[in-house]
Symmetry: D2
Amino acid sequence: MIKAGIVGGTGYTGVELLRLLAKHPDVRLQAITSRSEVGTRVSEMFPSLRGRVDIEFVAPSAGALSGCDVVFFATPNGIAMKEAKALLDAGIRVIDLAADFRIRDVGVWEKWYGMQHACPELLEDAVYGLPEVNREKIAKANLVANPGCYPTAVQLGFLPLVEAGLVDTDHLIADAKSGVSGAGKKAETGFLFSEAADNFKAYGVAGHRHLPEIRQGLSIAAKQPVGLTFVPHLTPLIRGIHATLYAQLTGDADLQQLYESRYANECFVDVMPSGSHPETRSVRGGNVCRIAVHRPQDSGTVVVLSVIDNLVKGAAGQAVQNMNIMFGLQEASGIDIVPLLP
Amino acid sequence: MIKAGIVGGTGYTGVELLRLLAKHPDVRLQAITSRSEVGTRVSEMFPSLRGRVDIEFVAPSAGALSGCDVVFFATPNGIAMKEAKALLDAGIRVIDLAADFRIRDVGVWEKWYGMQHACPELLEDAVYGLPEVNREKIAKANLVANPGCYPTAVQLGFLPLVEAGLVDTDHLIADAKSGVSGAGKKAETGFLFSEAADNFKAYGVAGHRHLPEIRQGLSIAAKQPVGLTFVPHLTPLIRGIHATLYAQLTGDADLQQLYESRYANECFVDVMPSGSHPETRSVRGGNVCRIAVHRPQDSGTVVVLSVIDNLVKGAAGQAVQNMNIMFGLQEASGIDIVPLLP
Amino acid sequence: MIKAGIVGGTGYTGVELLRLLAKHPDVRLQAITSRSEVGTRVSEMFPSLRGRVDIEFVAPSAGALSGCDVVFFATPNGIAMKEAKALLDAGIRVIDLAADFRIRDVGVWEKWYGMQHACPELLEDAVYGLPEVNREKIAKANLVANPGCYPTAVQLGFLPLVEAGLVDTDHLIADAKSGVSGAGKKAETGFLFSEAADNFKAYGVAGHRHLPEIRQGLSIAAKQPVGLTFVPHLTPLIRGIHATLYAQLTGDADLQQLYESRYANECFVDVMPSGSHPETRSVRGGNVCRIAVHRPQDSGTVVVLSVIDNLVKGAAGQAVQNMNIMFGLQEASGIDIVPLLP
Amino acid sequence: MIKAGIVGGTGYTGVELLRLLAKHPDVRLQAITSRSEVGTRVSEMFPSLRGRVDIEFVAPSAGALSGCDVVFFATPNGIAMKEAKALLDAGIRVIDLAADFRIRDVGVWEKWYGMQHACPELLEDAVYGLPEVNREKIAKANLVANPGCYPTAVQLGFLPLVEAGLVDTDHLIADAKSGVSGAGKKAETGFLFSEAADNFKAYGVAGHRHLPEIRQGLSIAAKQPVGLTFVPHLTPLIRGIHATLYAQLTGDADLQQLYESRYANECFVDVMPSGSHPETRSVRGGNVCRIAVHRPQDSGTVVVLSVIDNLVKGAAGQAVQNMNIMFGLQEASGIDIVPLLP
């Protein structure tokens, strides 16, 4: 049994990790830390876990996580970069669900995240945890940077086209829509029910932190810098991301075949039949990305539709997937969940 | 492995049964029938099941279900009463998720359901499938009438008080609120998103079919006829029932203790701590009923709050629980699911 | 033209007052104050008002509201009681949308609101602004306590029965459901979209501040103290209150006739035909209370359904109605709005 | 007073027309026809209109609409083309809210709408009712083709760029999101609450009927055929369209200035300040299109955000605006409504 710890865990990625780990056949949840909730039972904060998770939040002191084989950071940005080193030095493997280790260029990171990086020396060893790209590296990694939610949906949607060199990578467009849980559990006016329900809006058009992360991943795939316009939107659903991707074709190919081949061996990417329109609810609660590829009116514009549950394949589920790979477990262990529909 | 068949299964209780059975460790899904969808792959109708359920709907002909150990009817009212007999005669056990066998008094049934009962002779053998009341009978039953969603939430909420003779059973009040999936997947104007979203209303105040079912169960518990006012409401959530129950106390007791004792051995009834307000989302996707009991301002009025997921503990989950009991499996097998929150 | 001022006004009752006053033919909006938003254009905070309201928030200094004929307090509880006196002394009439002057018994108020009342000497002159009860007094009032949202829906629903002495007033039950805007625009975790959407729960079962307000109003109508169990619930809609009221009949009467007579001359109370189920959306954005009265199964229990828009008839609309009465305007002036459906 | 009639009117554009006309100071609603609802009171079907609209649906016979000055068709596609001629011949002006007269090329229309056009000879006289483009022609028109909801939002968003010749019109992209009321009030499974709530999906990627309509309008503005990729999505809100538009700049200009100039004299187009993100709720219930223009990261890609209420500026409100223009009334008469927020 893998002994797992969680740092943070009072937010939505935290409760989702707990949901998954509570039923993971190969994992024992050892400890969960929270500065603000010491002594609170996890199941008191999240009644959905009553009878499933019987531990309390403990203080993030030195010893709390000793004895763990792996520690997940379900913290705001800027925490893991301060605390990961000590854990790694103690032989504990680390999976960061925040953004601290996602961007290889520390200057870019510091510009977009507005703080100084506390531990740039770890960036080289950190592996970007998108299994469909980095599975072998993840297996050997001690520190995994779990991808952002938008970057997971957008990269998985664009990768086959970009890797195959079939599109103009100077003018990629990603029009992405996210459910409100992507904003986390912070109490902010803009995410109140009465503000976000029955409402739709774009945000961050001038620039969003996931832009450099997506650009980094697609540039590696393209073997050259890509140009990307990324427009995120807030849509009134709890869970779910729908990315609508646009690119100009520069070559010819059977796009359906291209996608099916690329993901033939991926258990968590589902290429839907030609003509499909994936729905976010078809992945609600599940660790899967469903993709459909279109070429409307046989024009030169390809349209890719890509959906995930932002808290599962876009966060906690992918983190568990990475853990499974790191420890040589069945990749689907504990995350082989049928989505909840309706 | 239990071999299971489903009759119907194109509606919400159907897809929920499929979600649960697809991962049940002791069950193999043998066949699913549908008159209208013969040849359609189940996963085409319900994309959430892609990669999980690989069978097609077949015609409800004689042989389709032969070889099954158990058949679930996820059909409209009035189907199972015509088809159950043949299956039972063939030694197949039957669980009806519709209302055909729930009411023991055929006259009452015919009045409320507006049709003649096709098979009243089975009513005597049918067992009302509320495990918290009838576990022993269910274990031996060949035909189980799975309770309605409202009746499950209301009866589990009232039972401790009524069994203990602590309340005036002439004036029970059940103010119940249901998510829209309780209305099923039929295309009716009133359940369109644009009608039901951002809206709240009562319905069926003059009389709802679940009234006689609840009254029957509570009368058995009270050992005398009970008087019940039952007002159902439609609330804009997909899944969930919240029953708010009111009764006048006629005796004195530690109500918290009463409820905890009554359900001490029930794995799917969770009596919450004193002062709690159970939320429907705390049971979303899970097979549990959470209950809290209040006595506001120390008055003579007791208020019980009872929540379930109408599609799980209120339908498919309870059906699987009944199957587990009937076949001597672990009662929680396949339905030991952590609810999805948020 | 009446010159109106608003104190507060950054919350939902504030923006709703602005929506109504912006189009009121007899009112000129003179000033709006806010401690935190001095200098912000109103239409910057509320883009729905772009092109309609061209003023800025000003500091709540002495002179800001001089010259007004009437001032609305759209503030949290505890502000109006400190500031109303000075305005009244300056000959300005005051309408408080908060709770400061709603309860006549200062001890009761202080117990439920948890603070000392700053101006109990005004309580005697304050008029409870429910026009259907106090129209004549409102016309002459200088200080009007605008009713709470739940109290408006519950009192209008119960009044005909209680005034006629037809029900047991020791055991009234009000099961009320509110949209989330009733909680205001404060950033609190519990009212986030991801917490409140697709969820239903009771709250404050042990005691809610609107209980003594409702009890006061119904006791006056009954000419004796009433016993009331009041259970509020949070339901995922933005606007709307649905009160389901239960009482035991002690006398006999044509209930439909009773309600129609009681409200025959009320332009903002709509008694629906017998058998109706009023929907919250049928009053969305309008200043009307729709009521239906039922007696299910001819039992001794009467069930009343009462719906309002909590921000209109439950707050800002009723405040404008009170202003119209106070200044001898047409009672419907500026609030004669057709609800928005769908 | 203009005497107005409505053909159809049992759907959402119908009830919205009724809401607007009920309060229009210059209009008297003379008759409303419906084949299926003859004799039903309008306010029985739409309780929001109780006390506001006192007429019944009448049969669509010859005389029903005689005496009207203007008739609105709030019917499915294919009705107005059969009935408009007789009305026009009788000197009654006609505004069709459906698509029958929107496309000038009858072949294109017949291909996309899948039926033969019953009255192509009227197409030449029909004026496309987008006031911001065709105000003068509308003033003189006897037959106005009211634009579709998507086409209104997309054209108003693109027009300044296209008219100014500043973008590559071969590769325009319109990623549009609509609330569910856009699908009308037909009972279809896909638009049930339990299907459309908490869900997001694209649809019609291969081709949507609004594509040729948008292309026609933009081609006229560009004075050459344009290439457009149009992807509509269904988002869980009742009302609202959010169009996110992408184009490659071919020239240089102050885009903010360009938009503000273009719409300087338009009372129903609101160009928001630079950097804005218009929300659909800021136009809920109002007849306004709010637009913001962005150029993220100073790239060559311009991003335009355009929001409308699909039932108002996208349907009934624009129809009334057209009527006002046709009859020389104040253009804002009866539609000068403050949007409902929250």
